[in-house]
């Protein structure tokens, strides 16, 4: 089981799911039509490290963060 959390303005409760890779996570999240428009603009972190590769293997307890477009300052 892994957890997916949505940061900032996405305003959605965390989701728990079974997933072996980020590709699995992607497939699951795309089932939610509210999320599809967010996904193309969002970056992703695993356990607070930014990632750029869908094939990374997930392990039990991993925490995936979905980061929408930013504007600090």
């Amino acid at each position: 089981m892994i957890t997916v959390e949505f940061l900032g303005p996405i305003n959605k409760a965390p989701i728990e799911m079974e997933a072996d890779t980020l590709a699995d996570v992607s497939a699951r999240l795309k089932e939610d039509t509210e999320l599809t428009q967010w996904l193309e603009k969002c970056a992703v972190a695993i356990n607070d490290s930014m990632v750029s590769d869908l094939s990374v293997l997930l392990k039990e307890g991993d925490r995936i963060s979905i980061l929408p477009p930013v504007c600090g300052g």
Partner: protein
């Protein structure tokens, strides 16, 4: 890296950073102070911050600055920041002016692009995500 609830005490931060480095023999101190402008009828801006990733982003910048003999500083507000007050102060200290002037620009621009901070306009007490002024972070779209 310092996070504060609400507006920053700019003078306190500026002076404290100056004092902390008083004996470090840096020749240039270049702060950047961001102030909330009154525009589009907003009362305030409001900020969400994801601190663990911001901290990593900042620590990587600190390492990069140190390779050039410099250090970086940063303070940011969380929550509502009324117009004409400050939400963001960053700074570079370096032995020489060239490095300080180059680094402050790179640091502030990368901050705008990649620091995990979300901005909202506050109008009539309501928070509205500033989507049109926001930038997808490096690597965005991975799950799309």
């Amino acid at each position: 890296m310092e996070l504060y609830q609400g507006s920053l005490e700019v003078k306190e931060i500026f002076g404290r950073w100056l004092d902390e480095q008083a004996a470090s023999n840096y020749g240039a101190y270049v702060p950047f102070v961001g102030i909330i402008r009154a525009e589009d009828g907003i009362e305030a801006l409001s900020f969400d911050i994801y601190e663990p990733i911001l901290k990593k982003w900042f620590d990587e910048w600190q390492a990069r600055a140190m390779e050039r003999g410099a250090i970086v500083k940063m303070a940011h507000a969380v929550g509502d920041v009324p117009i004409h007050t400050s939400s963001y102060v960053s700074a570079v200290f370096s032995p020489k002016r060239r490095v300080a002037l180059e680094l402050i620009e790179e640091f502030v621009e990368d901050f705008k692009a990649n620091a995990p901070i979300w901005k909202y306009d506050v109008k009539n007490g309501k928070r509205i995500y500033a989507e049109d002024r926001s930038t997808p972070m490096d690597g965005a779209g991975l799950l799309a």
